[in-house]
């Protein structure tokens, strides 16, 4: 997707009335280049949340508390055939590193923790506290 710099254009090519379409293809819900979903706020972060799938109970507290719509959700069926959300990751383009998700995470050993921005995910998971050391 185009960056704002690339989208900078001349007066004869700008959007009519500054009106922005959300979708390039509304039928297929294909997001337009004007959709902020394509804007990156990753450089706002000093620390990033790392998600540990192993410990997650899919309470979805992080999903509902995230102000930036960052949590990647997969729709799965539970044992009774009811659809439910499974957290599968974090969109790091949209995450500003506020840490609310970590704060609301209720598992005994948190399944979300903050790490310095440049920590590799694997490294972070290796450093995860255990029961005796949380």
């Amino acid at each position: 997707m185009a960056t704002p710099k690339e989208m900078m254009s001349t007066w004869d090519k700008i959007q009519f009335g500054a009106i922005l379409p959300s979708f390039e293809n509304p039928e297929k819900k294909l997001k337009s280049k004007f959709n902020s979903f394509n804007y990156k706020v990753a450089d706002w972060r000093v620390e990033k949340p790392v998600f540990n799938r192993e410990l997650c109970i899919d309470c979805d507290f992080c999903w509902v508390s995230c102000p930036d719509s960052c949590f990647l959700v997969e729709e799965v069926e539970n044992k009774r055939g009811k659809k439910q959300a499974k957290i599968v990751g974090i969109n790091y383009d949209l995450c500003k590193g506020c840490g609310v998700c970590v704060d609301v995470c209720p598992t005994p050993i948190k399944s979300l923790l903050m790490f310095p921005e440049f920590t590799e995910i694997d490294e972070a998971l290796n450093q995860w506290p255990t029961k005796d050391n949380k």
Binding site: M8, T10, W11, D12, I14, F16, G17, A18, I19, L20, P21, S22, F23, P26, E27, F34
Partner: protein, 405 residues
């Protein structure tokens, strides 16, 4: 389906009634309005049409003019035909939203019944409100009598909604002198009027919720200038559409409108430039002056915005002395018409002896005698080949002569 209104080929309407019928015939989808003298009857008439089954659009009686124009913006962005009416203080309260409407390129039509701006409070006609909205990015059309108020309002919809324009339009008429003065008006039948304007053509409607649009984004120094420039371009280039619409209207009704109206200007040596009901008074004065051998003509920009610079200069190219008559307190400068006309002439390498007269503030009467006086003064300048009268004078102001040079 709304009832058809039985209209005679000739009706006796005041300017407000004429505008009300034009709104009704345009089958406006949403009218959001707030009453204010002297445009109140438009809102009342419209409410009565609704009560009698002649309207099937929505009529939203809001709690202020600010909300009136805001609701108009919301309605127009939603995707349909929108109109309102106001005057003076109400117009002043709307000003913030006028800029929003034009910036979002929303084709709203507003009848402005021109009235003075307080303080001191005054309910009568002058062009203070029209001048206030000058830079708001709207097309401003001028009507001098009830027939014109009717005709110009119908044209306004067609101009505003044209996909090449998509700008809001005001149609202006003088408070009381036009709005409350009943004259013979020849209306179109409902179906002919609607056919002339045509169905509303939508562009990026919010109500097409399958294809959502964001209206009213923020643009800072990186983008704002480009938007304002394109908006200005649309306004400048609306002239060709205005010409087309006026030509189509002439074909339908035989009544001819131009972006620049003139009266006996062809062989004139001096000219008066003015807008509004006083233009008709000035016609009487011109006829009298011509009886006395003064070759004088009149010019009026029918479109105050976009201001017809080149056409004005062209029409005035043989004129030796010009008096521009402004019906608005100039407050620290020459009147707007004086400035625009002077600029138009200079830009085209022309010159004439220019003077400015302020008249009719707060509904002060301006008679043919007063204007004849102006014609004679202007003629003196022509004879002397230089300005021998005051640069800026005041017509029918009580007390010692007030002038600026």
């Amino acid at each position: 389906m709304a009832e058809k209104y039985q209209l005679k080929s000739k009706e006796v309407w005041d300017g407000n009634m004429a505008a009300s019928h034009a709104l009704r015939q345009a089958q406006v989808d949403v009218v959001a309005a707030y009453p204010i003298t002297p445009s109140t009857p438009i809102v009342q008439n419209y409410a009565q049409f609704l009560a009698d089954g002649y309207i099937d659009g929505e009529f939203v009686m809001v709690e202020s003019e600010h909300s009136a124009m805001s609701a108009c913006v919301g309605a127009a962005a939603a995707g349909g035909r929108v109109a309102t009416a106001t005057s003076s203080q109400g117009y002043a309260l709307m000003v913030e939203v006028l800029y929003q409407a034009s910036g979002m390129r929303l084709p709203i039509v507003m009848t402005v019944v021109n009235r003075a701006l307080a303080s001191p409070l005054n309910i009568h006609g002058d062009h203070g409100d029209l001048y206030l909205g000058r830079d708001a990015g709207w097309i401003h059309l001028i009507a001098n009598n009830p027939q014109e108020a009717y005709d110009i309002t119908l044209c306004a919809f067609k101009i505003a909604e044209d996909q090449r324009v998509r700008l809001p339009v005001t149609t202006n008429q003088d408070g009381f002198l036009v709005s409350h003065t009943a004259q013979v008006v020849e209306p179109l039948q409902d179906e002919d009027a609607y056919k002339f304007i045509g169905e509303y053509k939508s562009l990026n409607p919010m109500l097409d919720t399958k294809n959502p649009q964001t209206y009213g984004a923020q643009t800072e120094e990186e983008w704002h200038f480009e938007f304002k420039a394109t908006q200005h371009k649309a306004l400048m280039e609306s002239t060709s559409v205005i010409d087309e619409v006026f030509a189509a209207y002439e074909k339908l009704t035989g009544r001819r409108y131009s972006r620049v109206e003139t009266y006996k200007l062809e062989d004139a040596e001096i000219a008066l430039v003015l807008m509004g009901s006083a233009y008709e008074t000035a016609m009487v004065a011109v006829d009298k002056a011509r009886e006395e051998g003064i070759k004088v003509g009149l010019l009026m920009p029918r479109t105050f915005r976009p201001f017809p610079y080149n056409e004005v200069a062209e029409k005035l190219k043989n004129i030796k002395a010009i008096a521009a008559l402004d019906r608005s307190a100039p407050m620290g400068a020459m009147g707007a018409l004086f400035n625009e006309v002077s600029g138009a002439l200079l830009a085209n390498g022309q010159s004439a002896i220019m003077t400015n007269y302020i008249y009719g503030l707060g509904g002060r009467d301006t008679t043919a005698e007063h204007i004849l006086e102006v014609i004679k003064e202007t003629d003196k300048n022509k004879e002397a080949k230089k300005r021998v009268t005051d640069l800026q004078g005041f017509i029918n102001l009580r007390g010692p002569k007030l002038s600026f040079n």
